[in-house]
Amino acid sequence: MADYDVIVIGAGNGGLTAAADLARRGVKVLLLERHNVPGGCATSFVRGRFEFEVALHQLSGLGTPEKPGPLRGLMHRLGVLGKVDFVEEDTLYRTLIPGTFSVTLKANKVELVATLKDKFPDEGSAIEKFFDLVWDFSTQMISVYYLKDPETSKEKYPLYFKYALKTSQEVLDSFFKDPFLKMAIASYWGYVGLPPSRLSFTDLAILLWAYTEFKPYHMKGGSQALSNAILDSFIAAGGNVHFNCGAKEIVLSEGRARGVITENGDEISAWAVISNASTISTYTELLDSAAVDRDTLRMLGSRSLGPSAVCVYCGLDCEPGDLGIDVSTQFITLNTDMEHQFASWRTLDTPETCGMTCYDVADPEFSPAGACQIVLIVLQYADHWYAIPPTQYAETKYRYAQGLLNIAERAYPGFIDALEEVEVSTPLTHLRYLGHPGGAFYGFDQYAKDSNLFVSPLSGIEGLYFAGAWAGMGGFQPTLESGVAAARAAQGYLEKRGAL
């Protein structure tokens, strides 16, 4: 007998999805969350008359009702379609160097190719060929990776076998000359956290293809609305949730995960455990390291922590149009040197790039009338933040954030004058709320060698499953999908063990 069939540790995207999916299939689930709010990254906070979206910039994979993407199916499966209002954006992004360069790419292949050809007429045919490659490659990649074609072979999917593990830089260099063009096409590198020289072509191609085919989205009420809706589905299906209740230990019996001891000292038994905590804290804090085999620990040690970020959440007392902001997503930089920009994520030097997301462009109701909300973001590793003495933390945080505001002001004069609320988060803020080492919300660095092509998402301990960025890819779509994958695996295990 066990108190529960499954205990899920952590109510982030992966944990919530896993818990809701299992509960809706009649599995008896307990969801534990250290905080009092579900969502992990997928949350919001209120300052003054603004409710700030914490993490979601563009939701991928949803697709339209007419042309649904994989995430729409998942939302249906979780019973949240209709409970959350999704807002479609018609633009991928604008890449901007203030005073020097600007190009805006629509979420439409024909239009974005035409825009780039118009901007870079000398490289017109290369642009067409490149985007044809991106589309053909992505189609093949979907067949191999997602649909798991059993007949997969080099002959059947030649583009996949040739390009999957090339770096984005190699491919861009083989097509294009102009550094502005390469930068404009590779702008999504910031969403993965690796510069084109380290970013697999797979990741860049899939981002461009999926955001264009399925359109970027966000939600009314922000990602907290999605977290609340999934939790609602979970509770409605009979799931039990304990907030303000972290896990202290995963209980093993005969090498199998058999329950959890909470931070209050309560021992709760289950047939399986799904951890939405980082794999690092799962193996080093929640499990007795002696119970973890050496290969697993070596694998863990061979991977590097991914970046966190500094975010400046800005509430402005004007509409985006008053400042000339007419697209939801922008990548603003001061140069085309993406290698240098990446290197700067390890320093506190004045930032030279700034992601800018304005939710009110596509959804004028996102903020109160006459106001808008803009999030400025630059990725940052955490190591140098660890080294700041606590007494100098606030000052350092504000100095760094000022650099981001200055970029926004250069791009859109009047920005600073319109500020009504400003809140700053740093890698330490993300570490505090997520409990992840390094505040690394994408989990490990997203190198190809760390993808599921090489690393199994399974734990190596029977009855223990992972959901979330650390067991696969970072970002909303991957972490939501990871929860369903973990739920399936756990359910299969329960059936095999005769627990259901």
Binding site: E51, T152, K154, L165, L231, Y386, L419, V422
Partner: protein, 386 residues
């Protein structure tokens, strides 16, 4: 997977496999990281502080300052204007109250908090009458949003304080004057009578020594001989004292009546909303006078509150839900007790509550039935999930 692993045929696959082998060979096991995340958080944002009263100082006939130190010798830094939420157990009831830190953030050897007597003050009277050096307390870490933000507040600040609302400003003023920061502060401090002014001598002294600080006490019920500003803090008075409003940031902290009076005055001066900061101030004294309270309901009647999977208790309509829960021995996390911090976020499964305007509940929380128990008043019988 077929007999032959297709991945071997992907260009570059073997090279990466070799890289992984080498990386694993030289990997440092991450077991050394055990506890690291908590240690990093603890020095900045500990969830709980253990505190010992080291000194009690009388400020006025009705206010005392408690100096709090850590038995472990470490208190985290804070931003001037922030508060700690002090937990107390009185008559068997564990509750808490937020108190602004009045000492300068330039040092964290101690936090000073200043407590003023409140009519029927359950906690404040205990702190004033019973507490002595050596007493121990537990509190949250420093919290709150009422502080100077260098990113957009500017260099010209107007502080409008009422009564014990002077406390967050004291920390800010000590910070600016002690450290010689280039920032101008006008403090306008309303009190009922001269004897109620807390920190009056220190404010006068600092004003005499720092040209960037001006201090104006305003007395609403002055004795006959009183010379100085009297009445309320009106637009005319503020205009006279601070002159041109351009570029200034106005901060307000005081009793609810002060906001009700001063905010329209600031509006009359054409101070834009983005140049006004208000500290939150706890639940209103009489909830039934708030706009939107159903006239037919008496605040002195009771309803039943059932906790899913827990006990059922009785609750006064006119009292914040968190107080009824605490009285029944049910602990709900909390820090601001003013609807802002969201730590007491609770799911309402059935029934209806009254939440006064300005409670900072997320949009989707409203949609999915979450309330902030510190500023939610039960209108009907409730079922809640904690």
């Amino acid at each position: 997977m077929t007999s032959r692993d297709f991945r071997e045929d992907i260009e570059g696959y073997r090279k990466l496999k070799e890289e992984i082998t080498i990386l694993q060979k030289y990997a440092v096991e991450r077991t050394w990281e055990r506890g690291l995340v908590n240690r990093v958080i603890e020095r900045l944002h500990p969830k709980r502080l253990d505190l010992v009263v080291s000194e009690v100082r009388e400020e006025t006939a009705s206010a005392k300052t408690l100096r709090l130190v850590s038995p472990r010798g470490y208190l985290p830094p804070f931003q001037a204007g922030q508060y700690i939420n002090l937990f107390v157990t009185l008559a068997g009831v564990r509750t808490a109250r937020p108190y602004s830190i009045v000492s300068s953030p330039a040092q964290t050897a101690y936090y000073d908090i200043t407590v003023r007597r409140v009519d029927e003050g359950f906690v404040s009277n205990y702190l004033l009458d019973e507490v002595k050096p050596g007493d121990r307390f537990e509190s949250t870490g420093p919290e709150g949003q009422f502080f100077y933000n260098p990113l957009f507040h500017g260099h010209d600040l107007v502080f409008i304080a009422g009564g014990s609302g002077i406390t967050p400003f004291m920390s800010m003023i000590r910070d600016v004057t002690d450290r010689g920061i280039d920032r101008t502060i006008h403090i306008i401090y309303g009190s009922r009578n001269p004897g109620d002014i807390i920190f009056g001598d220190e404010l006068a002294d600092r004003t005499s020594r720092h040209r960037n600080l001006t201090y104006t006490p305003v007395i609403s019920e002055p004795p006959p001989s009183y010379k100085g500003h009297t009445g309320f803090i009106t637009a005319a008075l503020m205009q006279e004292l601070v002159g041109d409003i351009a570029g200034k940031m106005f901060y307000l902290c005081g009793p609810e009546e002060m906001y009700r009076f001063c905010l329209p005055e600031l509006a009359a001066m054409n101070v834009p909303g983005k140049r006004i900061r208000c500290e939150v101030f706890g639940p209103p004294k009489d909830i039934s006078t708030e706009p939107g309270w159903p006239e037919s309901l008496s605040k002195d009647t009771t309803v039943t509150v059932a906790l899913r999977g827990g006990p059922t208790l009785s609750a006064l309509r006119g009292e914040p839900l968190i107080v009824s829960l605490e009285r029944a021995g049910i602990a709900v996390p909390n820090a601001c007790r003013s609807g802002e911090c969201s730590l007491c976020r609770t799911k309402l499964l059935s029934g209806e509550v009254f939440q006064p305007a300005g409670v900072k509940v997320r949009k989707s929380d409203r949609q999915f039935g979450y309330i902030h128990a510190c500023m939610a008043y039960p209108l009907t019988d409730l079922e809640i999930l904690i």
